[in-house]
């Protein structure tokens, strides 16, 4: 076990592309940290830098307070699980598990013990003599996990390990990974683009975009208190609806126009009036989660929008509306599946204004 620290780490490739910019990230001893973000955001680069597969352009990496930037991958005592398993196809499961131990030149007795331990832990004892191509996707991923744990690394690195599995197996292996991490208590850095994986697995989640860390927090905090519009839209499925607006003062009321309604910002909402007063007359954004709606006619809080499409998901449904006031923008509403709706019909939607979020013109969240 060990703590991990990215200190002001940047990575620029030979062709000039800046993949990581001034990344600061602390991972505690035994913590399960998930790096999540869209494709090309730099999350896999961060993992490869920590693994020692790519070199750091600027900054320093620490594992247990020891600078590791100039150490070889083996000297860092880390283990990595890859998206495509990266099992050695010409070796049996046993040989795959033994390979890292042979590289460490451990005595045969220790190699046998550890291989047996990993095989039993991951239910692979029956498959030890098989080749990877004879195994199912789930079994292959277990072998990859086995190869990672046999050497008892300080840090686990996982690069989208569930991406090649079907939906059902993904849920199963996901819980196996979580259980394994809990049991072994090894510091883990897990990369994914799937926010459901991130939210369910991570003790904390680091959201990345354009090579920068946007926010590091627990899954609940990320969802409830996003630091900027990107995090608000990335976390949550579907993400937050964010729409431009301009606040104005009408007597005691602080309000803004949305569709056919002037919405009041309540005093007891997420953000106090005192804070919002500073933004009166400025172009800012307001946001709300898809579940902050109900289909109710209310003279003060309901807006009327035409329903575009419906996605029925089983226990709930997603309703999509096009907003006339903002080009190319779409509003998503999550409702229980019990109600029936027809596309093309104009519906009254009441917004729970106490749950409104506000973002400044740079997309930074406004909190008290």
């Amino acid at each position: 076990m060990a703590s991990v620290q990215f200190k002001n780490v940047s990575k620029q490739y030979d062709e000039g592309k800046l993949a990581l910019q001034d990344v600061d990230l602390n991972i505690n001893d035994g913590e399960f940290m998930v790096l999540v973000g869209p494709s090309g955001c730099g999350k896999s680069t961060a993992l490869r830098l920590l693994a020692g597969l790519d070199s750091v352009s600027k900054g320093e990496l620490f594992i247990d307070d020891k600078a590791v930037k100039r150490l070889s991958p083996q000297q860092r005592n880390i283990a990595m699980i890859f998206q495509n398993y990266a099992l050695y196809p010409h070796m049996s499961v046993r040989e795959n598990l033994e390979f890292p131990l042979r590289m460490l030149k451990l005595p045969q007795e220790t190699i046998d013990q550890r291989t047996q331990w990993a095989a039993e832990l991951l239910h692979l004892t029956e498959s030890l003599e098989q080749r990877p191509k004879q195994l199912s996707g789930g079994q292959r991923q277990r072998v990859a996990m086995g190869r990672a744990i046999v050497r008892e690394p300080q840090v686990f690195l996982m690069d989208e390990p569930l991406s090649n599995l079907d939906a059902k197996l993904r849920v199963q292996i996901r819980s196996e990974i979580a259980a394994l991490q809990r049991r072994l208590n090894i510091t883990t850095l897990y990369v994914t683009h799937d926010q459901v994986e991130a939210m369910t697995l991570g003790h904390r989640v680091a959201v990345m975009n354009n090579g920068r860390v946007q926010q590091v927090d627990t899954p609940r905090t990320l969802y409830e208190r996003p630091m900027n519009a990107f995090v608000a839209q990335f976390i949550g499925n579907p993400g937050m609806n964010i729409i431009p607006c301009e606040l104005r003062r009408e007597g005691e009321c602080l309000c803004f126009d949305f569709a056919d309604q002037a919405l009041n910002v309540p005093e007891n909402g997420r953000v106090a009036h005192d804070t919002l007063n500073r933004y009166i007359g400025q172009s800012i954004f307001f946001g709300f989660r898809p579940e902050s709606f109900s289909v109710v006619e209310d003279a003060h809080t309901s807006v009327h929008l035409e329903l575009d499409t419906i996605e029925v998901l089983g226990h709930e449904q997603l309703l999509y509306f096009t907003l006339a006031q903002v080009a190319d923008s779409e509003l998503v509403v999550r409702l229980p599946n019990s109600d029936q709706f027809t596309p093309g019909v104009t519906m009254p939607l009441r917004i729970n204004t106490r749950e409104l979020y506000f973002f400044n013109e740079d997309g930074i969240a406004i909190y008290d």
Binding site: Q74, A86, Y88, M103
Partner: protein, 279 residues
């Protein structure tokens, strides 16, 4: 009606394909049958279909070959030279290709472009300067002069290079994290997963080198180091001109090639498919 049309079409296809197959295989049949015929019949039946009909068959032509040249010596020379070129070539060219495909070093692209440029140079273009060079080093009439210049081969490097690029990089990353260095990764991970490329290069190199004639003719003079193609040439140049003997010699010369192909073919076919090289 449609059934008849389909039948007719497949019949025509078969006729065309069988004719082509016959055309391609006929020289080999002629060689095989001619090698066991008496010399008089080989010549008299040469212009007719009777050339393909065995009759009075015997092994006299084979006995003549062994009587006229030291076949075993030539065979040994050819096997030694070709095998060493193939084995050392597999090692050297695959290592060079791996360095070009996977390792990061200054000048890599420029050097690889130069290697590709060498592809278009035939041996004949460099034979004379090469001849002067090896003469200066006193290497004439040796095995080494027939082996060394042909170990590094641009085409082999190119074949290996394209194959290595197709291997998943994660395999090497995983091995590196597991603690393997570059040479261990190459020998324990890359080579075992590159059998098709190795088989393809082995067969193509063997085929090319087995029939090399010009270079050994230039640099060797004694029978003790000369390969089979120079031996068979004596059957044309020194009387009597016996076609039966030439056929018998040719059959014996082709056999090792068939054996090599048979041994490597299961990987070779996959290799040709995966490297995109047409056979």
């Amino acid at each position: 009606m449609i059934y008849l049309y389909t039948k007719l079409r497949s019949l025509i296809s078969y006729i065309v394909l069988f004719s082509l197959a016959g055309l391609f295989i006929s020289p080999m049949l002629l060689m095989l049958i001619g090698s066991v015929k008496p010399e008089a019949r080989v010549l008299s039946e040469a212009g007719s279909l009777l050339a393909f009909v065995p009759g009075d068959w015997n092994l006299q032509n084979y006995r003549d070959v062994f009587a006229r040249v030291d076949f075993a010596r030539y065979l040994f020379n050819s096997l030694l030279i070709t095998s060493l070129i193939v084995l050392l070539g597999l090692l050297v060219n695959s290592m060079a290709a791996y360095a070009f495909a996977r390792l990061q070093w200054r000048g890599r692209r420029l050097l690889f472009a130069l290697v590709l440029a060498i592809l278009i140079l035939p041996l004949e273009a460099i034979a004379v300067p090469l001849f002067y060079q090896v003469s200066m080093w006193g290497w004439r009439d040796t095995y080494i002069v027939q082996i060394l210049p042909f170990i590094a081969n641009a085409f082999s490097i190119f074949l290996f290079y394209t194959f290595f690029l197709s291997l998943p990089r994660e395999l090497e990353d995983a091995a590196r994290i597991d603690g393997a260095g570059t040479s261990r990764i190459f020998f324990t991970i890359i080579i075992p997963n590159s059998k098709p490329a190795f088989a393809t290069v082995a067969i193509l190199t063997f085929l090319t080198q087995w029939g090399v004639f010009l270079w050994p003719l230039m640099v060797t003079s004694s029978e003790s180091v000369r390969p089979l193609p120079l031996a068979i040439s004596t059957f044309y140049t020194l009387p009597p001109l016996q076609w039966g003997d030439i056929f018998a010699f040719s059959v014996m010369m082709v056999l090792p090639v068939l054996l090599v192909f048979w041994f490597f073919q299961r990987w070779f076919i996959r290799g040709v498919a995966s490297t995109g090289i047409k056979g």
